[in-house]
């Protein structure tokens, strides 16, 4: 890491290097980044900034928009919390125990990353519909999952799980076991050791995983819209409302909701960065 020491900003913005190509590659990088990412995103904000503040406020507080945002953010929070709990169980089993099929279980954690969202969407819907494998078991109990907010929650849990597991797993793997041994030798019970020694070291990683799962769930579209039912004010998520407004040519509404969601994700991104620095500081990881 010492090779990456910060340049002395006082003299120059970059350090001279024996390696050629700084001007060319940096130029291409900034041009490409601007063309594909920065200018299109800026266009969205400029389009929204053309509206009066009153108009923006009116769009965001219209009942249908407000309910969609509430549903997206609320259910994403619940889904991330569920993933926190079951993610912890899965991480603990994968890192600390040996059991048959462990490698397979480990690989399967990434399925929600790799499976296209539309495929996950129809699979979950089919599974929880009244005649589906799980839906048929729940229907006699009077529990309806597909086409209700509960269905949205299931989809958001599905897509968020790997974020918690894959963020916490390397941190728990790197944890120094000597500390646990020391705690046990000094008379701490196992539960006390887990709570007082291990937990504080992995809390930042858990919070990072939670924030990543939450951020992903808020913007999720493909895996949700099939199972959601998409009833306005009840089971209509914010990304779907953006699509609907766009199809109605109500660009002001679409861009305003999009901007609100983007601002929220940028705030989250900032929080995640701070958490990751905290986590690295806490565990001494330099990744």
């Amino acid at each position: 890491m010492s090779a990456l020491a910060a340049p002395r900003v006082g003299d120059r913005l970059w350090q001279r290097s024996a390696i050629p190509g700084f001007g060319l590659t940096m130029g291409v990088t900034i041009l490409w980044l601007s063309l594909i990412v920065l200018i299109p995103l800026a266009g969205l904000f400029i389009k929204t900034a053309e509206l009066s503040p009153d108009r923006i406020f009116a769009i965001l507080t219209a009942p249908r928009t407000f309910n969609a945002l509430k549903l997206s953010f609320g259910l994403s929070l619940v889904a991330a919390a569920v993933n926190l709990v079951f993610g912890a169980v899965i991480v603990w089993a994968l890192v600390r125990y040996e059991f048959p099929g462990k490698r397979l279980l480990d690989a399967l954690v990434d399925i929600p990353f790799a499976l296209p969202t539309a495929v996950a969407g129809i699979a979950l819907t089919n599974l929880y519909a009244d005649n589906g494998w799980i839906g048929a078991l729940l229907a006699p109990l009077g529990i309806q999952v597909a086409f209700t907010p509960l269905g949205i929650l299931i989809a958001l849990i599905f897509i968020g799980l790997p974020f918690v597991v894959r963020t916490v797993q390397p941190v728990l793997e790197d944890l120094d076991k000597d500390l646990e041994e020391a705690a046990a030798t000094l008379g701490a019970g196992r539960w006390t050791t887990v709570r007082r020694v291990i937990l504080p070291a992995v809390v930042p990683a858990f919070l990072t995983g939670f924030a990543l799962a939450f951020a992903r769930a808020v913007g999720e579209y493909g895996s949700v819209i099939f199972i959601a039912g998409n009833l306005p004010n009840v089971s209509e998520i914010a990304p779907l409302l953006i699509v609907i407004r766009l199809e109605e040519f109500r660009y002001a509404d679409a861009t305003t909701i999009a901007c609100a969601m983007l601002v929220a994700s940028f705030v989250l991104l900032f929080v995640i960065n701070v958490l990751q620095r905290w986590s690295q500081h806490r565990t001494g990881r330099t990744g």
Partner: protein, 303 residues
């Protein structure tokens, strides 16, 4: 995140060597683990949750795809609209993966081989598309190139069509998969530093030659890994593509969009048949990822 840190395969090695060797007292192991009942409860809960939320949906895709037998399965795949969707998806993935691979290498080189102010900001900006909802990723290009967009009228006057045509689909896919290759390369290249390239250049190699002979061999597995993940996402992207595609059957429908249309028309089996191809791709990608991770000796924390 995917730093090659000193990952200690602790429980595995300890557990294996503790039993046959005599000099490690069994009590030693006991104080750092939980009672068997706790252990097996945790494993059972983990397996149950994974089974319910991950394995069942995946198995369901294949079960539904073959629910009407092999002939119906094949019929759904050789349907002209399905074939057109497969062709478009392969084309879009090829273009966007190739573009993002080249640009990912350029960006990683610029970011990791030189020291300059604002480096961490630049890395954050490269990662930015990960934090943008797929729907918004499509929306920004509609605002740029759509009929009501900034460049829309000019494009229409000149007979160009980007939105509701394949260029828009490619643009949205490139945006969504923008960080994949770069973010696998950057941590590795940062760790490797630039001393080897400096040596090559000092000995008279051109920058291009140093890149081909020194950098590329050093990062080949990470590069392949990034390309793999980039491809999986490019072929499976739904939200962003859905906004810019216009859903013209046989023309601007990619595989995920074709799956949606079939599903909404209650042609469930045909829909799952096409979906099974993408699910198969996902399984293959994960398998290759597991193999590559073993080679890289590290784990990627985040996507």
């Amino acid at each position: 995140m995917s730093a090659v840190t000193d990952t200690m395969p602790f429980p595995r090695e300890q557990g294996r060597s503790a039993r046959p060797t005599v000099h490690t007292p069994p009590r030693h192991e006991d104080i750092r683990t939980e009672p068997a009942i706790v252990k097996w409860t945790v494993i059972a809960l983990a397996a149950l949750f994974m089974g319910l939320f991950i394995v069942l949906p995946l198995a369901n895709v294949f079960a539904q795809a073959f629910s009407k037998g092999w002939d119906a399965y094949v019929a759904a795949l050789v349907d002209p609209d399905a074939l057109a969707a497969i062709r478009l998806t392969l084309f879009v993935a090829a273009v966007s993966v190739a573009t993002n691979t080249v640009m990912g290498l350029v960006m990683a080189w610029a970011i990791t081989k030189f020291n300059f102010a604002g480096k961490s900001l630049l890395i954050t900006l490269v990662d930015l598309p990960f934090s943008v909802s797929p729907v918004i990723s499509g929306l920004v290009f509609v605002l740029m190139f759509g009929a009501q967009g900034y460049f829309g009228p000019w494009l229409i006057d000149n007979g160009w069509k980007i939105i509701f045509a394949w260029p828009g689909i490619v643009l949205a896919t490139v945006f969504v998969t923008f960080p994949f290759v770069a973010r696998e390369l950057i941590p590795l290249m940062q760790e490797q530093g630039s001393s080897e390239e400096e040596a090559a250049v000092t000995l008279g190699a051109s920058g291009w030659r140093a890149f081909l002979k020194v950098t590329l061999p050093n990062v080949k597995w990470a590069l392949l890994y990034g390309v793999l993940l980039c491809n999986a996402r490019a072929m499976g992207e739904f939200g962003a593509v859905s906004v810019v595609s216009g859903h013209v059957r046989g023309e601007t429908n990619t595989m995920p969009l074709h799956i949606e249309i079939l599903y909404n028309e209650y042609q469930f089996q045909a829909s799952f048949a096409v979906a099974s191809l993408l699910a198969f791709l996902a399984v293959v990608t994960l398998f290759a990822k597991t193999v590559l991770e073993a080679r890289l000796g590290s784990r990627s924390g985040r996507h």
